[in-house]
Symmetry: C2
Subunit: 292 residues, 2 copies
Amino acid sequence: MILIDGNKISNEIKNELAAETFEFVKNFDRKPHLAAILVGNDGASETYVGHKVKSCEQVGFFSTLIRLENNCSESELLQKIEKINNDPEVDGLIVQLPLPSHISEQKVIETINPAKDVDGFHPVNVGRMVIGLPSYIPATPFGILELIKRYEIQTDGKHCVVLGRSNIVGKPISILMSRKSYPGNCTVTLCHSRTVDLPDVLRQADILIVALGNPEFVKANMVKENAVVIDVGITRVKSDKTKSGWKLLGDVKFEEVAEKCSFITPVPGGVGPMTIVSLLRNTLFAARKEIY
Amino acid sequence: MILIDGNKISNEIKNELAAETFEFVKNFDRKPHLAAILVGNDGASETYVGHKVKSCEQVGFFSTLIRLENNCSESELLQKIEKINNDPEVDGLIVQLPLPSHISEQKVIETINPAKDVDGFHPVNVGRMVIGLPSYIPATPFGILELIKRYEIQTDGKHCVVLGRSNIVGKPISILMSRKSYPGNCTVTLCHSRTVDLPDVLRQADILIVALGNPEFVKANMVKENAVVIDVGITRVKSDKTKSGWKLLGDVKFEEVAEKCSFITPVPGGVGPMTIVSLLRNTLFAARKEIY
């Protein structure tokens, strides 16, 4: 069994990004620039945005964090987005989700200029990804593809089973894994809450990608011998064995599944660390105008 | 075995569209208007466009056929599209494909105003479909959904296997059949040329949708007893048994597969007739501004 080390790979990629950024700065006399908008003071959102800003600094990007009050109006936020859309000094723009309930997330996403939408959530980017045109691939699926590449996992003709049909993970990764490319060329099965005989379906997987948000849902008897298991889930649960009183669990019952696998991602330290570097990679694509 | 009668259903839908169009004309004092652009004189394209124009008349739409010479430039075509994009009297616009090789089909598709893109090929419409937002669904997948609805075929929790990963049929129908909706909520497997042990995968299908373009590829031993079989293929092959010297074949070997099925579409007369009524339905959506 090979443990897929997301921390190690994400550090490697950060080093690569730093080197490419150095070149970029030399050529264009400016840094790639990511702008992030944070509405309100949600603790988890603060943490995520903080990590993103810090990672920008690590690789040599410039970043701007724009804070809006929790009670800011939708039109105020949309105006701010429009301003950044039209600012030639900003390459990428993300709006940290979730947003307060009085603001339409979909409207916000559709207001971002697709060329700056480094989260890859805008319908234009989703559509271009499906059709096979250059696009910003959302951070989590992008990170999964990168792990598969770096560990040289074979995908051609393999049966990839994806559990979970979310817009940000399940649907895009199912589309990407069936593409005529590497990673890709898999026979892909997309499963979800309505799937009948789920264990039977999961056991068919040569590559199993789980993005349910249901801690330790996947047990050893649902996994084929020598499968590749990618665990996207990350849930904080109470624990009396840690100092903090909390621990993080994936969607896969790691201690019993790991020994059956050819490759497996741990939680934490698997897919998680890859998401921020994917965002950085998209921002560098944006700065270099490689997608649009 | 129930034969899915696409001719009958498409006629029913034409009658419904005619009634709705009558109401539309009464309320808005104008007819829904579809514009079609045909470049060159390809025989098959002439026939397809001719059918679309005729069907518009049948349901009471106004239609405009714009013909451009085979040697017209890309920019000439794009200008024509821009003009129609800005014409408030045109609701829907289609450009008949394929185009001459000196013109980029992708650029043409992306130039059409998504609100008038009743073929549903623009990345915005593809992306909105994937995310689950209102969009124009491409004609063939739309027609398949409609046949499933009209025959009240159960889909919830069923295993739907899609054979073929094209942008206009395989990919979109695989996404649509996995959506949280009816038709939908299927466990969906997308297969293609790289799929290993294809007959084993196909035999798992409760609902089998075949869009390969490979005549009579699917044999009886690849189909589960009581499966629903939707055959999208339509290939013209030589025949000494018909007056014309030609006959149309689907991707499914009908005479041996049909008897195993609970439902099956014939070729011709199955999915084919549904595509034009889907285009008309999208055009009426456009006229009523129901999507955008």
